[in-house]
């Protein structure tokens, strides 16, 4: 242990490590003895995992080990060995987490790694096993191997954005900034509904290794719709990057930022912490003063000097007033009246209408502020007046907002009324739903409006109209399903009485199918696809509603599993969902549907050997697009469908899911050229069908 009388540290280190880490457990070699006629591996795996969960990992390992010995040999036992080695690896990994000492932990980790590697021998395209192995390697400090495993995981299952996020995290640790950004971008592209990938992109940008200011600016704009919380942080970072060189650009961003903060009601002194401290803009002093409770600079400041600034300022004051709600209604009134003055000459101001609603409800709640009801009446009349303007100019979006606000004010006043009395909640809420339906017909934007529909049910109950109340309650239940609030839909279902008018039993089954679809094991997918596709309209269940539910359920079934039947089922589900959206024009509702559409698109493109592209979401109309309604946004968003997706869908439809699964690794689609083995495109008819859609078929060796 010594060299020339001195400790040799390197040697000592090696000895310590060797004594700390006992040899890895052996992975069982495959004995040649028992061949079972049926595969009990799932049952055994479940039993082992149950023991592990109960804290008896030794028993879990014994169980899985015994099962492994009973797996058939050769290819027939591949699935059995894959699952049981995966199970053992998982159990060892769990055991490592609970280990009291480093040597015990190292031993368990080594055994886990060996089991995972054995599992991958039989199931090399299992992304989850690659991912677990990567976690193990990164925790053991072997980042290079962890990166390689994560790359395999993302290749095996590109729909799992968590793999790419983890890959990016490790690349950050390794200071491979470019690779990290690439991984995060891939994750963001895969899962447009998940916040973690864009959060990571923003973090990387904060550290100076992410996007440049131009890229960040366009990303902030994009995130305003999809991730409003993140968008505010994004603008803070953008301002930080540009304020020194371009104050005007930074100030424009500040106006957008304040609007977002106001809409999110996140006002407070801490909100300024993300802005540069040494920024000398005239925009900040009035903000700071107001946040400290000083109302002396609420008017005639930087913010009141242009229309867009005033709008953001008014939105901010609306939120600020709400913050002071509990303390002093008079202060609240003052803030809101001031804000209203700021935007009252702008008929398109969304804040103006919200301020009128807030003030009206304030007067309902605090009659002492409006003893003669003059203020409240004036506000209501002004909203009526503006509504007339919207109706005359055929601005349905504005009309719907006015009806909504009036409905809420009258409900606040408990003026339930009747469907014919325009000064009542019943009338205004009915019109909200009617105008929303009209917008669906004309603008293709579908808004479920579950809360409005539930409020309508309440109004009818209050006015003793049980039939209308039951209709509205049923509508609200359907709307909860449309907006992916399945728990609330279940609750609403309980309040529905059986009647000939509504087929409650069918809707209950549909709700169950929706839940099953999001957590279906691979072997049930085909059955679920059949069940979902076989559903037909019933009493109270329109064909359109049914199609919207079918799209959601089918898209939820798309996860890329191991090659074979499950993958065929995924492609089948993707094609059915694609047809519903593109051919049947089923509208997308909310960020979850956006994620579903991305999964559909990705599944189809990848099934023919193409590479998926970044999804574009923009407000407005036109082009080959799908319409998307997002909560909190009255403007429909367009989701572009790329030419490649159309081509991929066409190839997939012509070849069929089984062929695609069979030839998956040999197909490649790029720029309208499909490279496929001859045996995949044998019939001239198939070739002709593809060529009619502009797809050139090129043979590749098998």
């Amino acid at each position: 242990m010594t060299t020339s009388g001195r400790i040799n540290p390197t040697l000592l280190l090696a000895v310590i490590i060797c004594t700390c880490i006992p040899g890895a457990s052996q992975v069982k070699s495959q004995p040649q003895k028992v061949i079972l006629n049926f595969d009990r591996s799932k049952e055994i795996s479940a039993e082992a995992l149950k023991s592990s969960q109960a804290g008896d990992s030794n028993r879990a390992i014994r169980t899985a080990n015994a099962g492994l010995e009973d797996c058939p040999t050769g290819a027939a036992g591949s699935a059995c060995r894959g699952l049981l080695n995966y199970t053992m690896g998982y159990v060892y990994q769990q055991q490592a987490q609970g280990s009291a000492t480093t040597p015990e932990r190292q031993s368990a980790l080594a055994s886990a790694a060996a089991s995972y590697r054995a599992a991958l021998q039989d199931d090399p395209n299992n992304g989850t096993i690659h991912f677990n192995l990567a976690m193990l390697l990164t925790n053991a400090g072997d980042q290079r191997s962890a990166i390689a495993e994560l790359q395999e995981a993302t290749k095996a299952d590109p729909t799992q954005w968590q793999y790419s996020v983890k890959l990016g995290d490790i690349q950050v640790q390794q200071k491979n900034w470019k690779a990290a950004l690439q991984a995060y971008e891939q994750a963001a592209q895969t899962a447009p509904g998940a916040e973690s990938p864009p959060e990571r992109i923003l973090e990387l940008t904060r550290r100076g290794y992410g996007l440049n200011s131009d890229e960040l600016q366009s990303r902030c704009k994009e995130w305003e719709v999809l991730y409003p919380t993140l968008a505010a942080n994004c603008y803070e970072q953008f301002i930080t990057m540009v304020f020194a060189g371009n104050t005007s650009l930074a100030e424009t961003a500040l106006v957008t930022w304040l609007g977002i903060i106001g809409r999110q009601e996140k006002v407070g002194e801490q909100m300024l912490e993300g802005l540069p401290r040494n920024w000398g803009t005239a925009a900040l002093p009035p903000l700071t003063a107001l946040l400290r409770g000083d109302l002396s600079r609420i008017t005639d400041n930087w913010w009141t000097q242009s229309g867009s600034r005033s709008e953001a300022w008014a939105r901010f004051l609306l939120a600020l007033g709400q913050e002071s709600a509990s303390h002093d209604p008079k202060t609240m009134e003052r803030i809101w009246q001031t804000a209203l003055q700021t935007v009252k000459n702008n008929p398109r101001s969304a804040s103006g209408l919200e301020l009128r609603r807030a003030l009206a409800l304030l007067y309902v709640r605090h009659p002492d502020l409006d003893v003669t009801h003059g203020k409240l009446n004036e506000l209501v009349e002004q909203i009526f007046f503006d509504k007339m303007g919207a109706i005359q100019s055929k601005d349905l979006e504005a009309e719907q907002r006015y009806h909504t606000v009036l409905g809420l004010i009258f409900a606040g006043q408990q003026k339930w009324g009747s469907d014919d009395d325009s000064h009542s909640a019943a009338f205004q809420l009915r019109r909200v739903v009617e105008v929303a339906n009209e917008r669906y017909q004309k603008e293709s934007i579908y808004q479920p409006l579950p809360e409005i529909k539930e409020l309508r049910a309440k109004v009818y109950e209050k006015t003793n109209h049980p039939v209308e109340a039951a209709n509205a309650r049923w509508d609200s239940l359907l709307a909860y399903m449309d907006s992916d609030q399945l728990d609330r839909a279940s609750n609403a279902m309980e309040a529905i009485q059986d009647s000939g008018k509504f087929d409650k039993a069918t809707l209950t089954s549909l709700l169950k199918l929706r839940r099953d679809a999001s957590a279906a094991p691979a072997e049930r997918k085909s059955l679920l696809i059949t069940q979902i596709s076989a559903l037909g309209p019933k009493a109270g269940i329109s064909p359109e509603f049914l199609q919207r539910q079918q799209f959601k359920a089918l898209a939820d079934l798309i996860t890329i599993g191991p090659a074979g039947a499950a993958e065929t089922a995924s492609v089948q589900a993707a094609l059915a969902a694609f047809s519903l959206t593109v051919d049947q024009h089923v509208p997308l509702i909310g960020v979850k549907d956006l994620g579903r559409w991305q999964a559909v698109q990705q599944r189809i493109v990848e099934s023919v050997g193409g590479r998926s592209e970044k999804m574009q979401v923009r407000p407005g109309t036109g082009g080959a697009t799908l319409k998307l309604a997002l909560p909190g946004s009255a403007v429909p968003q367009n989701v572009n469908i790329s030419a490649q997706t159309f081509q991929a869908a066409h190839v997939a439809q012509v070849l069929g899911p089984e062929q695609l699964t069979h030839y998956n690794r040999s197909l490649s689609l790029s720029n309208g050229k499909l490279a496929a083995p001859d045996s995949a495109v044998t019939s001239p008819e198939v070739r002709r069908k593809l060529e009619m859609k502009g797809i050139t078929v090129m043979a590749v060796p098998q």
Partner: protein, 293 residues
């Protein structure tokens, strides 16, 4: 000192202190303060509070791993986190104001200020707001379900940590080093505490000099796992807590061997990732959804 030997000593130090200190234990309580809710639950309020505490505890366990959250009356932990259902102004009618979840942490140094965490409901008087559930008082089961649903968003927890846990030390030892860069090796594994790379720490140190022992607070950034095997975490020195502390940075560099870490606090908390570097179970796992394969 020979660089290799220095690394070896750090390794030995990390080996000896890994898991030496357990995570801080925090008892979780839930208190319904808003008078209208207390009246509504009546004699069952204590039961709702006990069950509410369990809901909060489960949510915390899922989203925060740097502490162990215990049910109330489970021994005598040093810290108690109380989550309140309360309004900003108890003197004003509850129906006229939004109802909030607020939180406060009490420990050896006293109790933190009650901090607003998350809005529970809009003012009941706003009945007729877009969601009309404000119009009804929830029964016990609905209330607990609503509480559970409210606490699922991961984005809630960084705010709770920076607002309430800022005086909770997650470790009371560590080693200041100059290599690979100025920073501290702290005796816990990154995945055990589940600290993401965007986490910022405040590390409180004693710096003994020839004349006296100085105290210094410094900000540090989480860098990543440290050691072979990586049983500790490396954090890089960022800046002093204030101007005076900034001036003490030179002392850290001058007397790295003498620096004694007294406490490690979270300034900004980011969860490592969805499952803290943990494994995804096989699809056969009982009642947890399993993997997706």
């Amino acid at each position: 000192m020979n660089k290799t030997l220095s690394s070896l000593l750090i390794f030995l130090w990390a080996c000896s202190t890994a898991h030496a200190g357990d995570k801080p234990q925090i008892e979780v309580r839930f208190k319904i303060e808003a008078s209208a809710y207390r009246n509504h639950f009546g004699s069952g309020v204590a039961n709702v509070e006990t069950r509410g505490a369990e809901v909060v505890r489960q949510a915390l366990k899922q989203h925060i791993q740097f502490a162990d959250f215990a049910a109330s009356n489970a021994g005598s932990p040093l810290y108690t986190l109380t989550v309140f259902l309360a309004v900003s102004d108890p003197q004003t009618d509850v129906a006229a104001q939004a109802v909030w979840l607020m939180a406060s942490l009490s420990g050896p140094g006293g109790a933190s200020q009650k901090t607003i965490w998350r809005k529970f409901r809009e003012a009941a008087a706003d009945c007729g707001g877009l969601s009309d559930r404000e119009c009804t008082w929830p029964d016990d089961a609905e209330f607990l379900k609503e509480l559970q649903a409210l606490l699922t968003a991961p984005s809630l927890y960084p705010n709770l940590v920076s607002g309430v846990f800022h005086e909770l030390s997650i470790a009371d030892s560590g080693k200041f080093v100059l290599q690979p860069t100025n920073g501290w090796v702290l005796p816990f594994r990154q995945e055990d505490m589940c600290l993401g790379a965007d986490t910022k720490l405040r590390i409180v140190n004693d710096i003994p000099t020839e004349q006296t022992t100085l105290h210094g607070k410094f900000r540090a950034d989480v860098e990543g796992p440290y050691g072979h095997p990586p049983d500790s975490i490396f954090t890089t020195l960022s800046e002093g807590e204030d101007g005076a502390d900034n001036n003490k940075k030179a002392l850290l560099q001058q007397f790295p061997e003498k620096v004694v870490v007294r406490g490690v606090y979270l300034v900004r908390y980011q969860h490592l990732d969805e499952n803290c570097g943990g494994a995804i179970p096989p699809p056969t796992a009982p009642a947890n959804g399993g993997g997706d394969q």
